[in-house]
């Protein structure tokens, strides 16, 4: 199946089941990408996984993203059907002040650590996650370091004043 055909089929299926849930569906560099409304993200993922026609049994990656205007957070899922070599990318965006979406752990157990990582760096709360705590950073950290509102540098340095760098 060509990527365009796959895109159309999935788009149609999702639109039949959940009208209005697909905000956008497009080929980006010949790669099918779906933007799904966050209220229907879990149901849409379940269809992609369980429908025999699609059978995306493998979650390649799950990560977070912050929109350029800094007002929205997103979660990106990369799905793979190995026997047929289908790949799709599923994105969902939501308000940064209410970063809550349902977990995908019940669909793919491999989502567990990836959701913990996304929580660690972006503060996305995955509802229903069995063990949502920091995974890579120290437990005492009180920021979500990859959000644009937090500075990259370690804030405890006292020897780095702006005048040393001509600022």
């Amino acid at each position: 199946m060509e990527n365009q055909e796959l895109l159309n089929k999935i788009n149609q299926k999702l639109n039949d089941q959940f009208p209005g849930a697909v905000e956008k569906a497009e080929l980006t560099y010949d790669f099918p990408v779906f933007y799904i409304h966050k209220d229907k993200i879990h149901e849409a993922l379940a269809i992609l996984k369980n429908e025999p026609e699609f059978d995306f049994h493998f979650l390649t990656d799950l990560t977070g993203i912050q929109s350029a205007d800094e007002k929205q957070l997103g979660v990106v899922y990369h799905l793979h059907n190995m026997p047929k070599n289908y790949r799709v990318r599923v994105k969902t965006y939501f308000d940064i002040n209410k970063p809550e979406i349902p977990t995908a752990c019940d669909l793919w157990p491999g989502a567990n650590w990836m959701e913990r990582e996304t929580f660690d760096f972006y503060g996305v709360k995955f509802k229903g996650h069995p063990n949502l705590k920091r995974i890579l950073n120290v437990d005492e950290m009180d920021i979500f370091p990859l959000r644009k509102e937090y500075p990259l540098e370690d804030q405890s340095r006292e020897d780095k004043s702006d005048k040393m760098f001509g600022r």
């Binding site: 950073n137 120290v138 370091p145 540098e153 370690d154 340095r157």
Partner: protein
């Protein structure tokens, strides 16, 4: 034509400490004899996390040969080590581990901080990296470089040897030393 091997016949011996010498006897301070013995048999505990660790491997290997300075015996147990060599970037999450390793070492103990990352965080001025190991454990000698050459690491070890040689017996019981440990929250 290969390089001609030179046979060294004259051996360098450790210099005698100050003392009273006569036929059949030599009298000096016990402190100095012990210091001499400690300085020339420092057992290093390598805590290597990145590229400085690779330079350390060269330092241990035949070309640079740390064994010449009595430190060929690496101790991978902190209980038997005299000198903690921290080489490489220490992430904040690694901090408690490094601290525990330091606390497990028996006195007297020395710490060598090798390279820019261990000494100050180096180029990694970022939220996840410890900005210098002296934030969690006391450091005796810093070796600059990114990474330092083996010659520099050897230089750092020679400096620690000087410290060990000249350290007073009572230093580890002194109030000053206790204060230093207390400032790091250790007993």
């Amino acid at each position: 034509m290969g390089k001609q091997l030179q046979k060294r016949t004259k051996l360098d011996m450790a210099k005698l400490p100050e003392g009273l010498e006569g036929p059949g006897f030599f009298a000096t301070k016990l402190e100095q004899v012990i210091g001499l013995a400690r300085a020339n048999s420092l057992w290093p505990l390598p805590f290597a996390t990145s590229c400085c660790g690779i330079e350390f491997m060269a330092t241990m290997a035949s070309d640079y040969d740390l064994a010449r300075f009595g430190s060929e015996r690496l101790s991978f147990s902190p209980r038997q080590a005299d000198m903690l060599m921290v080489m490489g970037t220490i992430a904040k999450k690694m901090g408690p581990t490094l601290r525990q390793v330091y606390e497990q070492m028996a006195e007297p103990k020395w710490v060598l901080s090798v390279g820019a990352c261990a000494s100050s965080g180096g180029i990694f001025d970022t939220y996840s990296v410890l900005q210098g190991i002296d934030r969690i454990i006391p450091v005796d000698v810093y070796v600059p470089g990114c990474p330092p050459r083996p010659e520099q690491i050897i230089e750092g070890i020679l400096k620690i040897q000087e410290l060990a040689k000249n350290e007073s017996f009572r230093r580890r019981n002194s109030d000053e030393y206790k204060k230093l440990l207390n400032s790091y929250g250790m007993e």
